[in-house]
Symmetry: C2
Subunit: 360 residues, 2 copies
């Protein structure tokens, strides 16, 4: 057997190809059914799919027929692929154009709609936070596993090139030993948002935006915390914070001994940033969590990154499409979301008990 | 009795004047004796006095005769006004050219040298941290009180115009309700520094630079914390941190409910900054605690401030001189330093006990 370098490479490529080709659907765009037509779907994810390489929108689930028809017209979704919440799963099951769903409902509904979608034979891309409890997360993971379907949590930052460059710098020793991390994300919430309803949201700013700070600490350190200590408050008694916290501050201790400090808020716009302080330098992203305009500095020098698709939601949709086509595990599978929920449950427990909570 | 507006004002001014004139010394510069010729004295305070309006250097206390002679020559201090640590107080007592001392020794020596200076009939400007314990702070305050001498802690930031503008913005409602404050100050310490000796320093970065973050939270909120929760670590086992913490993170709860997060370090240069997040805007100072080059932003807009003397140490020396001349209480009297020590003792206790500590 004698192979030139070129034919050897071709053989290798060919060896990888069958698995790819064996997966359905390999030769057409991955079809997403959008579950929930709120701001993030309409303003971010669907335009993202439109800018993606490998995806298209092939179904809609909404409680507002007019809105759904308008979106269907815009994205070329047939009227027969507009479903109601009541029977979307039964009807969607027989629609071969739908490969996956994008769950963008209030947090408390993520579990039900993930489980029903998996039951209908569809892969699930679910918005963060994955659910409102670890118990729900476990159900979601189990349901997707038993259905043989993939589950990805929509942590777009973990696919974002500035964040990845920061992570590489933090973990490669480029700033020496990581000594401290701090992070903040908060915004001034308008009255009436479902996010202020504890039953729908599961919690306040921690669940919604503080989770980005938690992710930043985990991603940059490469560790999961072993202890959290948190406090919350309500300062504004205008009625918005009858059910969830307004501000929450917390520290985390990691297995290496690393300590981090974070804060999150629905009462103030903190800008959304993180800093990783090393023994030999510093990494700063600010804004770190926005949909665009992210800025990364390493040792005071602004970085530029290769960005083949600057639209984070397009990249996210494409990553999951690639995972489906190539039968790969998503970078941020259900377990990643479950870990965050486990930590956030500990953070809330720490707030209630006003003391530290250890994580197993 | 009939007074024109002008003569009435003149009478008022005259009424204030006698008290001022009765104080000695009112017509000449305030003479400082420098106790401890380390970096902060030689590189910052003494050049500051030279640039001050109302001060001069009239005495030196040092264990290094050569260094003292060099400094004496530079600042025009007579050889007879160079003292040793052993008997400076006895000799200084009869030197009418010395009105006040500047104590710039390792923290653990602040109490002794403040008490001895007050006993010698001199006012005391003492570097921060005021001491290594509340008990020492109480002794210092009592000694100065019983000697009828003033005691000021060298919190230069409280006289610094950017900081004062930030404070005004925070407290006047310019950024709405203060929702969160965070602050960080750390630097990479060299081996061999007295700051790494627990007996001399009383603690690690918290005592040295974290105290600035504590001050920022107190100054900006106008409140003193009622609960602290802190954690510390040592990550670098190169021998520097055999006695004191390397990193320390802490949160504080204030009477209004306000929560703040801070971190401090001897293992990384965090830049020294604070942010005050309000319901309607944000205040940021970065650098916030440096000797110069401070930058203040309010709602994203860089501020410029009137600064009659950009040298912070000159302003500090002049403020204390003014207090001595006019028999006024210093802005940062001993009680201010004692409050910080009470909080820092609680922070260290929280670290040791790994749980929250309430402040009475």
């Amino acid at each position: 057997m004698s192979l030139s370098r070129r034919s050897f490479s071709a053989t290798l490529a060919g060896a990888a190809a069958p698995a790819l080709k064996a997966q359905q659907p390999s030769s057409r765009k991955i079809g997403y059914c959008i579950i929930g037509l709120g701001r993030i779907s309409m303003n971010e994810f669907m335009p993202g799919v439109e800018k993606s390489e490998h995806c298209r929108i092939t179904g809609l689930v909404s409680g507002h027929p007019e809105k759904a028809q308008k979106m269907a017209a815009k994205y070329g979704v047939p009227a027969t692929s507009i479903y109601s919440y009541e029977d979307f799963d039964r009807k969607m099951a027989s629609n071969p154009e739908i490969d996956a769903v994008y769950v963008a409902l209030p947090n408390s509904m993520h579990a039900e709609y993930t489980v029903r979608s998996a039951g209908a034979g569809k892969h699930v891309l679910c918005e963060k936070p994955m659910a409102t409890s670890v118990a729900e997360a476990q159900q979601m993971i189990a349901a997707c596993k038993s259905a043989g379907k993939k589950l990805m949590i929509a942590y777009r930052c973990q696919l974002e090139p500035n964040t990845l460059k920061a992570q590489q710098a933090a973990r490669s020793g480029q700033i020496g030993r990581v000594e401290l991390i701090d992070s903040s994300f908060g915004f001034t919430i308008a009255p009436g948002e479902w996010r202020l309803n504890k039953k729908l949201a599961g919690g306040g700013p921690l669940m919604d935006v503080g989770i980005y700070c938690l992710q930043a600490c985990r991603i940059m350190s490469g560790e999961d915390p072993v202890e959290v200590d948190a406090r919350w408050n309500v300062l504004d008694h205008d009625g918005r914070f009858a059910e969830v916290e307004e501000n929450l501050v917390w520290s985390m201790r990691f297995p290496s001994g690393l300590l981090t400090t974070c804060n999150t808020s629905y009462g103030t716009n903190t800008g959304g940033w993180f800093r990783v302080y090393g023994s030999k330098g510093m990494i700063e992203m600010q804004p770190a969590f926005s949909y665009d305009g992210l800025k990364l500095q390493i040792n005071g020098k602004e970085q530029t990154v290769e960005d083949h698709n600057p639209m984070q939601f397009a990249r996210e949709a494409d990553h999951f499409a690639e995972c489906i086509r190539q039968d790969k595990a998503p970078k941020t599978a259900g377990e990643e979301g479950q870990t965050d929920l486990r930590i956030m449950e500990a953070i809330y427990r720490s707030c209630r008990e006003q003391g530290p909570v250890k994580l197993a």
